[in-house]
Each structure stands twice: as structure tokens, then as C-alpha cells.
Symmetry: none
């Protein structure tokens, strides 16, 4: 339910009410609970749908091609996602910030497996001398953090940035590309 994503992303699980979700969706509270039996169920459904969107770009990181270009493309996609689906990013941030109990199993199984595989690819690039000797995992952290930041900390960003959204993301892309492509050179 898109309405639920809106609400959960804006206020977190505890701060959201079924009433808000229902009104947002143009239904009655009781009718929302007719489809999803509990508030937890709504949250779990929204979360699981969002998580897969979140993983997709990383899956496309492949060993072929230029390492720095690959990593930059991944970063760009994540930045784009922050712009296009900020709700999803905030939902995820809220969830993790408040303990991540609902995604704990996902993090430790699915995500861990995927991340381990991709870190191996990056490590291979490093071992081949095609990339600076960073820690692959922490490189991912840096990419995630610096791109999701634009979705998660939007109010702060809007308070400090003067100019429209287009210029904001152009500057973001420019700065990230410069630092990442230059910073990762072997």
C-alpha cells in the first residue's frame, strides 16, 4: 500500500496510526484492517516490498568492465533512487534507527549474502591493483550513507541548500563523482 509507505516513512512505525494510513488511502480504518489484520502486518508488507527495491541496484554490480566506472554507476543509481523514492529510503532509515527488529533476519541472511558476494568482487579488483586499497564493506557504507543522506535528511538539506532540486542533485552528483572516481584510483 502506497499510502502506508507514505505514512510509515514520514513518522516511523510508532508514530504512525492506522487511521492516518486509512485516510491517506481513502478508506476506513476498519477496511484497512480487513486486508492487513494488524498494524504490524501492514508494516511488514510495506517493508518487504521496499527492501527488494533497495537491493536491486547492488545486484547489478558485476565484475566485468572498469571497476571505478562500475562503482560510480552504482553510486549514481543509488543517488537517483534517493531522489525518486525518498519514502523508501526513509522507511528503511526509520526502521534501522529504531532497532531494526523487523528487518534483522533480512539483514543477516539475504543482505549479508549479497553484500559478501559484492565485496568479494571489489576485493578482487583491489587485489588486481585496479582500485585503491579500501575496505570494500566500508566503501559500500560510504556510498549508501552519502546517497541516502539526500532522502533521509531532506529537511536539513533544504535548510542549507539555496536553489532548486535540480541544481541540488547536479551538485551532489558532481561532488560524489569527483571524490569517488578520484579517491578510488589505485
Amino acid at each position: 500500500m502506497a499510502a502506508a509507505l507514505d505514512v510509515f516513512a514520514a513518522q516511523g512505525y510508532r508514530g504512525s496510526t492506522v487511521e492516518q494510513i486509512a485516510r491517506n488511502a481513502g478508506m476506513s480504518k476498519a477496511n484497512v484492517l480487513y486486508y492487513f489484520h494488524t498494524k504490524d502486518d501492514i508494516y511488514a508488507a510495506v517493508l518487504s516490498r521496499t527492501l527488494h527495491v533497495w537491493l536491486e541496484p547492488l545486484e547489478q554490480l558485476e565484475p566485468d568492465g572498469d571497476p571505478i566506472e562500475q562503482i560510480w554507476q552504482y553510486t549514481r543509481q543509488k543517488l537517483q533512487l534517493s531522489r525518486d523514492a525518498p519514502h523508501a529510503s526513509r522507511l528503511f532509515a526509520n526502521e534501522i534507527l529504531q532497532g531494526g527488529n523487523a528487518v534483522g533476519p533480512f539483514l543477516q541472511s539475504e543482505l549479508k549474502t549479497l553484500v559478501d558476494a559484492k565485496c568479494q568482487i571489489i576485493q578482487d579488483w583491489i587485489d588486481q591493483g585496479r582500485l585503491a586499497a579500501v575496505s570494500p564493506l566500508h566503501l559500500l557504507f560510504l556510498i549508501w550513507a552519502s546517497t541516502q543522506h539526500y532522502a533521509d535528511f531532506q529537511p536539513q538539506i533544504h535548510a542549507l541548500h539555496t536553489g532548486d532540486e535540480n541544481s541540488l542533485y547536479q551538485q551532489a552528483e558532481h561532488t560524489l563523482r569527483l571524490i569517488i572516481t578520484q579517491g578510488l584510483k589505485p
Copy 2:
């Protein structure tokens, strides 16, 4: 009140109860509200005390000395702060994520003034050819995001990183230094 910081950082404003804060502080609920009249007041007090801790490192960014070294030292301090005061970081992240209404005025006045001043310093460095031509504001965003990430997304980080906290922060520092110092070279 340190007890309130704990609670608000862990569960956000809406998720926290005065009862929890009181128990955490070893007082009665009524007594907490004797000092801070409302829950909002507790929150505002905790938030304002935390914000100043948050600004301090940035204030020390001075035009003298080597630009890249100065920026790296700032980044290092922020990373250290994430490790030493994760509660403060999470409190701030929760606040911004949920709209930032309570810090809106602060962001637009105090923080904006400080950030503008420091961006000017960085821009001067760039104009002098001593730093890569990044957008100063977005450089700050990258530094904030990539350091606070270690406090705000702790559950995710612990799920993906195998090893103790020391090695975690050593690798983080190593990776950040490499990318930032090399990425910012003119």
C-alpha cells in the same frame, strides 16, 4: 537529562514515553514533569543540549593549515563522535527523519550561518587551487553522512561486519581517509 537522551535516541519522539524516561532516570513520572512541564519540553531541552555538541567540531575548521588535512581532521572527529556519542547522532537523525519541526529554526539560523561561513573557507581553498573543485556544501554532506552512518545504522552495520568494534572503526577510518584525502586532491 541523560536518561531522556537514551530513550529518545532509541525510539524517537513518538515512540518514547515519559514513564520510560522517568524509570530510566530512577524518578517518578510526576517528578520528571515537575522539572520539565511537558514531554515536548524534555525533548526540546535534550535536543538543544545535543545540537551544540554536534556543531563544535565544525567550528574548529579554520582557514589556516593544509586544506586536505583540515578536512580530514574534521572527518575524523565526526567519526569519533559517532563512536563516542551515538545516542546524540541518533536523536538528531530521528528528529530530521520525522520532519525536523523541532530543529527547523535552528537549522535555518544558527546552523546555516555556521555552514555558510565554513563553505566559504572551503570555496576559498578551491579557488586557490588547493582542493578539488567539489561543491563545499555537498562535501560537508558527504562527511556528515558517511560518519554519522556508523551511529545511525548500527544494527545494519553489526549485521554485515564480522569482527569487533575496534577493527570496525579502524577500517572505517582507513577507508574514509583514503577516499577523502585522495579524492580531494586538486
Copy 3:
């Protein structure tokens, strides 16, 4: 509807839901309410059907024959009914316990008429010196109470009686016969 009797007998009117009745009957909730417009209607229908089963044995109490034997046969039939139709007994007990609003009219008209007639028969037997000088109405109360008890208080009885159901009812019959036949001797 037998399904409704099951549910109402087990949980009383307020404790039962139309959903439970429907599922128990293998229908949809909406379809149950297609036949019986409201929950009240279902209850009234079940109750009225049950009441007639409940009266039947008393109607067979006739002035002919041996008084004590007649009364014992009635008692035996009621005990048998408690065993064979405990649901009906519990439905009735629940209804009366919770005020008997739905059966009030029935009690004051149909039942009162029947009971008055039968009490007259018993009183005649007493006046003829063929029965101990009990109050006929209270004799009926004792018979009703002591037989329905086996249906209405089943959980208590099962907790205190060790042995199977056959032995339970044999002992019940034995004890009731002894006390009633000997106790009613003139």
C-alpha cells in the same frame, strides 16, 4: 441452526460472534445474516427451538400411576437430556444467568401455565397422602437443578469425578433415585 446452538451454548450471547457461527456452519458471515437478519434473530430462533425440547418431559407428567415413580421417571428423563443435549441446557442456563430477557415472556406465560398445571397434580398427590408434604414448585426446582447441573457445570464435574462418563451418570442416577424416591415417601 445447530452450529449457532454450539456457539451460543459455549460462550453465551455476548461472547459469541456471527463469524464463529458462520464458520461453524461452513457458510459465510454474510450468508448467515441473509437468513437471520440480525444476531438477535439467530439467538431467538435457537432459543425458541430449544425451549420446546426442554418442556417436553414435563408435559408427560400425568396424574395416573404411582406418584413417586412418575416423578422419578421425569427426573431420569431430565438427567438423560442433560447428557444427550448439554448444549441446550447450557444455552438456557446462560440465558437465565444473564437476565433472561429473551425468555422472560416465555417464562411468564407458557412455562408458568404448564408448571402451574403440573404443580397442581403434585399437590393433589400430596393432599391424597401419596407424597411427602413438599412444595411442588420447589420439588421441580430441585429436579431441574440437580439434573441440569451435570450439563451446566461439566468442567467442575470433570475436575472432581475420576472415571468415565458412563460411571458418572450411573452414580448420578443411583444417588438421585435413592434420595428422591426415599425422600418423597409420605
Copy 4:
């Protein structure tokens, strides 16, 4: 809480609302739940207080004295209790009727122990030829049923009995004494 006993006795657990109990006690709903955290807790407290009242008369059944007189005195006390504390009787009846889940443990331990002991006393009397050869347990059932009936089935009794409450209980006592004292003669 006397108010809770009133409400639970009249409508059973499911039929009662915390709101009713609160209004009946002259408090707010929230204040009732300040003392008893849940509806279940209120019910459990009321039930346990009532159960002990319920056991007391049986405890006084002693092996000394005339058996029939002892049993009659017990019956009389139970009848008196039905008159004086009908709420307690109805609370218990409602509980058992609806499965007795809340008193199950009590029935199987405390009550069973007490009943076993008292049944042994009665059995001894029978073995000594001082009492008719009834089943002691079922004698207790008959006494319980026929006395509690006056509390539990009050609406029915009032519909069938013409006359005031005094005459009602006089007739009840007369009839029960006659049948029990005569029926139990060896």
C-alpha cells in the same frame, strides 16, 4: 472490587466492559486500569476473592455429630449463601458455564483436595450404616445444584413463584430439608 463483582456476575466475562465496572464504581475507566492492569486482572482478583467465600461452608463439614444433621446444616448454609451472596454464585456459574478456564487450576487442586477429604467423611458415615448408600460426590453435586439454583436461576424462579422472597426461601428450606433428611436415612 464490589462493583466488578456486580458486573461480572450479571453479564459474564465477555459481556462485561471495563467502562461498566468503572461507572459502577464511580471511577474512570483509566483509573480502574491503574489498579488492575488488565480486564483479566480484575476478573482474576474478583474470582479468587469469591472462591474462598464459596469454600468456607464445606470446610466446616466435620465427622463429629449426627451425619444427616451435619449435611442438612451444610445445605442450609449454602442456601443462605445463595440468598445473601447471589452475585458470587452467578459469577462462579458464569465462569464454569463458559469453560471454567480461569478456575481450572483451582478446581483440580484446592477444590479437589477439599472435596476428596469431605467425601471420605461421608463415605465413612455410609460405611458405618448411618447414612443411605449414596455416592458422596453426587450428594455434594445435588446440594450445590439445588441451593445455587436459587441464585443462578433467579429470573426463572421469580417468574414461577408468586409471593415474596421470605416465603420463597421458607418453602425452599422446607422442601430441601424434607427430601434430604428423609432421603438420606440409612
